[in-house]
Symmetry: C2
Subunit: 300 residues, 2 copies
Amino acid sequence: MSLVIVGSVAFDTIETPSCRKERIVGGSCTFCALAASYFVRPGIVAVVGEDFPKATIDFFKKRKIDLRGLKVMPGEKTFHWQGRYGEDPNQRTTICTDLNCFENFRPEIPAAYREADILLLANIDPDLQERVQEQVRKPKLTAMDTILLWINTKREALLKVLKKVDVFFANDEEIRMITGERNLIKAAQHVLRLGPKVLVLKKGEHGVLVFGKDLQFGVVAFPTETVVDPTGAGDTFAGGFLGYLDKVGRITPTEIRRAAVYGSVMASFTIEDFGIGRYLTLTGRDVRSRFAAFKRLAAF
Amino acid sequence: MSLVIVGSVAFDTIETPSCRKERIVGGSCTFCALAASYFVRPGIVAVVGEDFPKATIDFFKKRKIDLRGLKVMPGEKTFHWQGRYGEDPNQRTTICTDLNCFENFRPEIPAAYREADILLLANIDPDLQERVQEQVRKPKLTAMDTILLWINTKREALLKVLKKVDVFFANDEEIRMITGERNLIKAAQHVLRLGPKVLVLKKGEHGVLVFGKDLQFGVVAFPTETVVDPTGAGDTFAGGFLGYLDKVGRITPTEIRRAAVYGSVMASFTIEDFGIGRYLTLTGRDVRSRFAAFKRLAAF
């Protein structure tokens, strides 16, 4: 067991200007684990209700995701998030959140996972992230993701977790809100003083910047006409990034650069369909071929 | 004579949230020519009034810019633009425009310039751009830049010029306005059907994308904490891009990629000071060293 991901497995109801999808499978842990599964066999820690589809569980198994940390809560319903995207797919509004089985979720890391090399605290309540941080013995690398909601409502708890992670995945708005800095580069440097050794700044359609000691890397997003549903793009970025690092087993500046490209590759696939739709047919060959396309895109 | 640039030489009054600069030297032609002067000896076609400072003319000469096409209009005043930037340096408002000597400007290409290899129609009224297009015999490459004002007020004239150029420099908002497409990649593909062989999509702090037949290239902007004044960034991008192409004398996909990086290099310097301030001390060594920094930034 090497990469362990803690986060949400959920139903999402998604509205885009042209379409509405009711209760499709989503959640930060789902997206991260699916993307990572193209590189390694990640273990997940999450909770679902009785209503969670067996077909999806079977799909997770087919992708060789380790489900020993996935709890099914009898008599409970799965966490449900509903959101709407505007004409600009970067702008999204949460319409409602039904915590359901997530309300009393207290993540327990199975004994088999406690020696994990890489721990990904995908987006969930920072109090739960902290609880997990305490349970995993000595990961080589701990990474975290979050959302604006926690920055605004649980700032102290979030900063406490942030202080002890190695890699922080965030977008422009999030680091501006954390630091109060409008200039992105100043905000990024500020974040590096709050704990993380590496900041991965996800800028959606504008690509990604990576900041660290002796490390500055940037790559544009894959130019695509097909943006069906941006949900999960950031999570699959994190999954691809850490899945790749876990696979190569070396955490060097060179591998971090490649990891950021693999993250971009996975995110570029995710947005091509609703929810996890693209993963139903995505092959390892597709992933390798898009990595090669990124190489051509960025070469000079 | 190889690269000829037609555009404005002007005074700019610039307000940023922290500073105001009164009547400093600016103008599309000024910025383009200064950036290009790090690669070749560009010739300019423009007009100024009697009030234009001799010190700046001397500075242009020192940069080996060919001024045979620069008219000084006796008894007239130089074109003056006043603009304001908000907290987000990508958002700017024009406060006023005094055309002055520009009002009756009819660009005449000096005989010595008519065999130009590369013609850059920097941002001016598309009617004037068309007039110039007719006067230069057979350039290997014609490029144009524009602003939203002309797209909104002189659409037909602009599309006529666009139809006959090889390279079009534009930003997100401009190509969305020209094509009516919200998705940037669709908008870019649409622009390529309007005439240009290459579209250089300038995304400011988010970098640049280049689209063409058998060509797709992207590089992020240079991560900098110092954004003093974004005026002229796009012009100096164009100047660096075409100056480099003129210098190497080969217009191949490989050289176009490098040209886009040199354009990014020049733009990254421009924003470090007000107006043309950065160019007063910028050296060829600075340019080469930032190109190397871009190499490190983008390598994976």
